[in-house]
Symmetry: C2
Subunit: 318 residues, 2 copies
Amino acid sequence: MKNETSQKKVRAFAPATVANVGCGFDVLGFAIHELGDFVTASLSEKPGIRIISISGDDGRLPLETEKNTAGLAAIALLKEAGKSDLGVELTIEKNMPLGSGLGSSAASSVASVVAVNHLIGSPFSKSELLPFSVDGELAASGTAHADNVAAALFGGFILVKTHLPPDVLSLQTPEKLHCTIIHPKIEIQTKNSRKILKKQVSLEKAVTQWGNVGSLIVGLYTDDYDLIGRSLHDEIIEPVRSMLIPGFKEMKSAALKAGALGCSISGSGPSLFALSTSEILAQKIGSSMGSVLDGIDLEYDLHVSKVNTEGAAVVGEL
Amino acid sequence: MKNETSQKKVRAFAPATVANVGCGFDVLGFAIHELGDFVTASLSEKPGIRIISISGDDGRLPLETEKNTAGLAAIALLKEAGKSDLGVELTIEKNMPLGSGLGSSAASSVASVVAVNHLIGSPFSKSELLPFSVDGELAASGTAHADNVAAALFGGFILVKTHLPPDVLSLQTPEKLHCTIIHPKIEIQTKNSRKILKKQVSLEKAVTQWGNVGSLIVGLYTDDYDLIGRSLHDEIIEPVRSMLIPGFKEMKSAALKAGALGCSISGSGPSLFALSTSEILAQKIGSSMGSVLDGIDLEYDLHVSKVNTEGAAVVGEL
């Protein structure tokens, strides 16, 4: 923690994120561009943190500071900074869908801590901000998963070695990796999609899974796109969760046929992600996946992006 | 496969290996120096492969070609080379203990294929030799695990992404890594130590395990010795198998106290390995572990070595 001059008003952005990444249930994640949340933090004469407004959520998120991940993360930060009495007003602009499996609450809580930290003179480094957002997630959802939060904060690929206390590693991210996201317009609650998972897995499948987690990471460190593709297999979570997503098998198959390195569920779904090596391929993959949902009259959003290696950032200040 | 001039007699060495490496049950392995097997392959007028002699095994290994991993691997190689009728005599010198958890049968089968391949003019590359040794292991033991075989063949750290067909990756190996091996003089059969494992594991522990496999690999690629140490945890296999090893907990604790990055069972045991960053530390760790077995009057061998990044090699020819 260090002390610097503070601002009056700071606007920060934190990106949407893909957690699990096929084989890496609860340990892997990466960030994408454009989709994500903006949080503006302003100094106020009145002590305490207040959420002034939330846009882009269709009125579904709580304005009460202590029920909102952005509010909770800011509370944790100011407490650690010894500034719990500071007056701070938060404005949240959601620029991504809720309940889509793209780390919506993580984007809010990360944008919040990045904005508030800068507002009070940046006493904390990026790494030091992580626990505040994890705390926010824990208080809001009852689970302390650092995968979306770490990917939104640091950008690029991340590995959560341990969740509590968070031991998170930023991984090397190959230059050419592009991501296609398709978001079918149905909603799955993370809590429910976690409930349907079996608590026991076969040792044999677990071995296959940790072989794939290992080889995916080797692929990232050696720019081996083919190996990344060969590693994007999940025999444990995907077979269960994909049953909640209409057209999953057909979309995955269409993505692979169109040239994707691999394709799986983003977070707890219902969004799917596919990785590829160029924007042209990523667009083509998106069209192919979209055709499947067109065929069953299910609405969807498509998004194509390079993997975002910058992560959360301050985007404006006064 | 290519054709070159052949030799009359070739001697090859393949090193002892540590499989599993703590968190990486059935997927990770590395090679060490000095301990290992020599196989000499000589051309003979009489068609077929014969094992002429085996030394260093106290008469326990079968001389019948089709019951011996070295023989079986050589048969597979000559068959693929279209030279099944060639007369080859094999001499096996074991320079490592059997049933110690150090990949004894893998060392024999790898030294055999390296020697025989060179004898017939090196038609196969190192990578192409792998399946022959895996075949040998499969025929001899009923399981096709490529971890010891791949580490003995390639040297350094290896990751077995998939066992059948083998998809094996050579990993980056940090320069300073040293290994201490302690071999308590009791014997555990791999088959038995596999039987006692539970066939189901909790999803929670499996997630911890694949987080650690991932972070160990990140540690190898970033020369992060502290991270390698933090990753050497196994919550699934070690708690069960360590019950078969007298003094395990005390030896592990002594190794860590003496400065080891981490310590676990080598393969299916009873040997333990500990990793450290210098030869001096590795020696000190060995003494500390040995003191534990001294205290319970159990005989043991100690071995200290840098991680062997060369793997199997031809060491003599006529």
